[in-house]
Amino acid sequence: MDMHNARDAGAARLDDPWYDALASGWGGPDEPDETAGPPRRARPPAAEEVYTEVHGSAAFQEVRRRYRRFVFPAAAAFLLWYLAYVVAATTAPGVMARPVAGALNVAMVAGLAQFATTFLLTWAYARHARLRRDRVALELRWVTQEMMRGHGR
């Protein structure tokens, strides 16, 4: 289902304003639109303009938003969780020594939980990136490189 969503979103975004502008000629607002004359076609747009243009596009902003909305909270969460674990282990050994089951105590469970959350977050990130970012990012890469080459050849 995620896969489906991502595809839809990517496709929809690529139809959006800037993609259109790209398809109909490389021109600023003050330039004539449809008739891309030979002089301009011969000179590919400067890399700077292309990157700024792509950066402002809805598709790119969507990829950027998806990436940041996943990694920033996730990074903050696991850093806090690790810090809490280390601080608890060094300042509250009494709590950590409390038995849970058999020889297992709170400290052992917390340590194993650190391993478990690391593996879990790795899996979640990989899944998120694969389903929500990779395809759109690849299309953007292709589009950017096409623009760089000077489209319409």
Partner: protein, 535 residues
């Protein structure tokens, strides 16, 4: 160690050295001398291969022997290390690996130079990368010397010196002749050997306790002499507030430092795309996580099977816990099984050191040639090929320097150097990397300040720390000029690195809203997230 064990260990190690030299010869026969090939192995490794190589680069003998020994002696406090070394990979996976692969070509400085004024940031990043590498390298070289002395029962300093020289020479040969392709294959072979050895020993420990973890832990607690305290934190770091803060400081350095280690960053360039870099980190997280879980079993296993006192009497730091455990699991001293297992563990430990030093040497030679030489040289006839030639020479120079420092530091306690290398990487390399990937306003001055503002405090604080002077275990035990209470500077120097980067940016003359600045930030973001224009 008996003569049989010694000759078998030497034989196995000889086989490994021969295999690595064969790999180097094979890799150098097909070489064209391009930077792509020398620094990045042609960028055509698969994610699985690179994942094994990353794990091989990261899992040092210090973690195989040192951490399991720490667990055998101090129980739970050793587990804290394992957790820090693993969680660090989330920083790499989420924030660094893919973006660095997309923005850079060979080194950390490439990522910064894409946005900033090239010369100053290249020099700054080059200086900090080389510093981190040399710290790490010296720790590994001295570790190699003492490991050999330990495993071969050679207490004389000549055996240690020759080991340092031998390891240094081999690593220079690997790097200078084979470049990244040979180094990567050596890492892969080493990672397979290390994982194989760890799996075999772990299975034997679990078989000994009939798969009952509970009985393994309670036996370990009983034989440790500490009772149930052995399974709770506090035995190693619970001794007063300084010790506790010190551990938190080390924890911060471990978690944030991994993502700034030059030899780890350069590994992402050996795969073709950012998704491939992501998949290689996932492979390495699986391998490294599995490895540290096994290390925990081996550490508690050594305490349960041998008892902490037996481990301590063999080596005060516990470094012989795993070899002794192998001897016992194989059937005890004098038995064939014990001899074989002991020899295998010793040979795997040698292989580990050799592979790790090769990876670091390559990363530092790349920094010297690609960052420092390329920025400082005024020669007009510089070409990519001549840069590779410089990198090969740099590998020889760094190897010679590491051998020299390793011999000088021969009988010093340099275990703190690994922690210092991580702290320096976390304070100097990570802030500048994160700022330039994620902060629009970040400027050249901010980048330069951030690197030096993290690196200088890290090194200076260690000079004035108890590891250098003022204690019986310090390097200069006779004098006392220690002003800073902690052994690891991370808790102070990492925030300073971030603060310096922020200050430098705020106090910059460059207008952050200038057209060129905004455009270069846009370029970095587009390239980082899409891979457009990636090398």
């Amino acid at each position: 160690m008996t003569g049989n064990q010694q000759s078998l260990a030497l034989l196995l190690f000889g086989v490994f050295v021969a295999a690595t030299l064969a790999i180097t010869t094979w890799a150098s026969r097909r070489r064209q001398g391009s930077p792509e090939e020398f620094y990045a192995g042609g960028r055509l490794f698969s994610p699985m291969e690179n994942g094994f190589a990353i794990a091989g680069d990261y899992m040092s003998a210090a973690s195989f022997l040192g951490i399991s020994g720490l667990i055998a002696l101090f129980g739970y406090d050793g587990v804290l290390y394992c957790v820090g070394f693993l969680v660090a990979w989330l920083v790499v996976l989420l924030l660094v690996a893919e973006l660095v692969r997309n923005c850079g070509r060979f080194t950390l400085a490439d990522v910064l130079a894409a946005r900033m004024s090239e010369r100053p940031v290249r020099i700054a990043a080059g200086v900090s990368s080389v510093t981190v590498c040399v710290l790490y390298l010296v720790a590994q070289m001295v570790g190699a010397g003492s490991l050999v002395a330990l495993l071969l029962d050679e207490t004389g300093s000549r055996a240690r010196s020759w080991t340092v020289i031998g390891v240094g020479t081999l690593m220079v040969v690997f790097v200078a002749l084979g470049g990244m392709r040979a180094t990567t294959w050596i890492q892969i072979v080493k990672a397979v050997l290390l994982m194989g050895g760890a799996v075999a020993l772990t299975v034997l420990v679990l078989v000994r306790f009939h798969g009952d973890i509970d009985s393994l832990l309670s036996t370990a607690a009983r034989h440790s002499g500490h009772g149930s305290d052995f399974l709770a934190p506090g035995l190693a770091y619970g001794d007063g507030w300084t010790a506790r803060l010190d551990f938190v400081s080390l924890g911060v350095a471990l978690v944030l430092g991994t993502a700034g280690l030059p030899h780890i960053l350069s590994r992402f360039y050996t795969v073709p795309t950012a998704p491939a870099a992501r998949r290689s980190v996932i492979w390495s997280i699986g391998l490294i996580g599995g490895f540290y879980l096994m290390t925990i079993v081996l550490g508690f296993g050594a305490a349960a099977v041998l008892g902490s006192d037996a481990v301590r009497s063999s080596n005060a730091a516990g470094n012989t816990a795993v070899p002794l455990l192998a001897l016992d699991l194989g059937g005890g001293a004098g038995s064939t099984g014990g001899t074989v297992l002991f020899a295998i563990v010793a040979a795997v430990a040698f292989a580990t050191i050799l592979a790790v030093v090769a990876g670091i040497t390559l990363a530092s030679s790349a920094s010297v040639a690609h960052d420092l030489y390329a920025s400082l040289s005024r020669r007009k006839d510089r070409t990519p090929r001549s840069e590779v030639a410089v990198a090969r020479v740099a590998a020889v120079g760094i190897g010679a320097a590491a051998i020299g420092l390793g011999l000088l530091a021969d009988d010093l306690n340099v275990a703190f150097l690994v922690g210092l290398a991580f702290a320096a990487a976390a304070s100097a390399n990570l802030p500048v990397l994160l700022y330039s990937l994620f902060w629009r306003r970040f400027t050249t001055r901010g980048a330069v300040w951030s690197v030096y503002g993290g690196l200088v405090p890290a090194v200076v604080l260690v000079v004035f720390s108890p590891v250098v002077s003022g204690g019986p275990e310090a390097i200069f035990s006779g004098v006392d000029f220690h002003l800073f209470p902690l052994q690891n500077p991370g808790l102070v120097s990492v925030p300073l690195g971030f603060l310096a980067g922020w200050l430098g940016t705020v106090l910059s003359d460059e207008a952050a809203d200038a057209r060129g600045h905004a455009a270069r930030h846009a370029e970095t973001e587009v390239r980082a997230l899409t891979g457009a224009g990636a090398a």
